[in-house]
Symmetry: C2
Subunit: 196 residues, 2 copies
């Protein structure tokens, strides 16, 4: 039984290596090199550990870590959807659910079910853990773009109001981080790297 | 106070982006592209979540996750030391300790102290959490090398006994994973991708 589980787990561990090839639109800090999903997931995990104290509500940090570590794995099949792409839906698509079932389905059944549940909880964004995880997911590219002279905002001509509306999700997880983020957005307008 | 902490934490979050530029010798699965330390750390975190049930001793999974997520951050200053490099020490060097103090020292003092303690605990390899974390750190490149026709073993002519001795650390964390790993090593000899 233990060995059966291990064989399934190893096939999952090999499969998720593909996350390292999924390129995001956002660039690394002070860089013109795109970030990949594995690097992004690691960075969100580090941010979760470091910033958990700023959550407005008490959170189960281990659960948030699981969320941010696995949240993009479905993109191995479904691809990365750019936050400001207006032609594609950002809500829990059928394609992503099929991907979740295929990839997490490589694991032993109890683990597969746990991972699908955690991923769905993240996507739904209702629990305190999901809200904090989503704050992290919005905060990292904000920091990256401000370090890159506007980054994807400038590159894709994203207007201030759109950025503001998308980033306001941060407030659901942490008022302190949102206050800081809102200031960064305002400063970006002042600097001319985000158009009003 | 909260904002003071946040400013320090953001400077740390920016600094550790550099981990994405630290190249390891080991290649991705079925690939000739080197893995970087951020990708490696994400993969170890995923392996920890997925394989924790195989730990011989009960472990605090959150602590192991912190260990594997931060274990290579010192390499931003100190560089990656290849496991089979016989010209360099692999034990907790002065250079790495200075790096830990500088980089973790960007955080608020209590967090800096916690991170240095966790990193030191990992390096010492004595607690059950450190043993399991080290098992993960040895197991990932073993899986990668066997998927790459011997990978770094073939590339650097590493003999079977050296691989065996280095990998045996896996046994300290998990007998089940070690039994599987030992089989993989033996199979590699049979296939001629690891020289006896």
């Amino acid at each position: 039984m233990q060995t059966d589980n291990l064989l399934k787990q190893v096939s999952f561990i090999k499969e998720i290596d593909k996350l390292k090839y999924i390129q995001r639109k956002t660039k690394l800090f002070n860089s013109d090199r795109c970030e990949n999903d594995a690097e992004h997931s690691w960075h969100l995990a580090m941010m979760t550990i470091v910033l958990a104290e700023h959550s407005d509500k008490p959170i189960d940090v281990l659960k948030v870590l699981k969320m941010v570590l696995i949240h993009d794995i479905v993109e191995i099949d479904a691809g990365d959807v750019f936050l400001y792409d207006t032609t594609k839906s950002h809500i829990n698509t059928d394609e992503e659910l099929i991907a979740a079932k295929r990839i997490f389905g490589l694991l032993p059944i109890e683990q597969a079910e746990e991972f699908i549940a955690i991923w769905t909880e993240f996507e739904d964004g209702i629990t305190d853990e999901a809200k904090f995880a989503k704050s992290m997911d919005r905060f990292e590219p904000l920091l990256q773009n401000t370090s890159n002279n506007g980054g994807t905002w400038a590159e894709y001509n994203v207007p201030h109001q759109t950025v503001y509306d998308k980033k306001k999700v941060i407030k659901e997880g942490s008022t302190t981080i949102w206050n800081y983020a809102e200031n960064l957005i305002n400063e970006s307008v002042d600097k001319g790297i985000l158009k009003k």
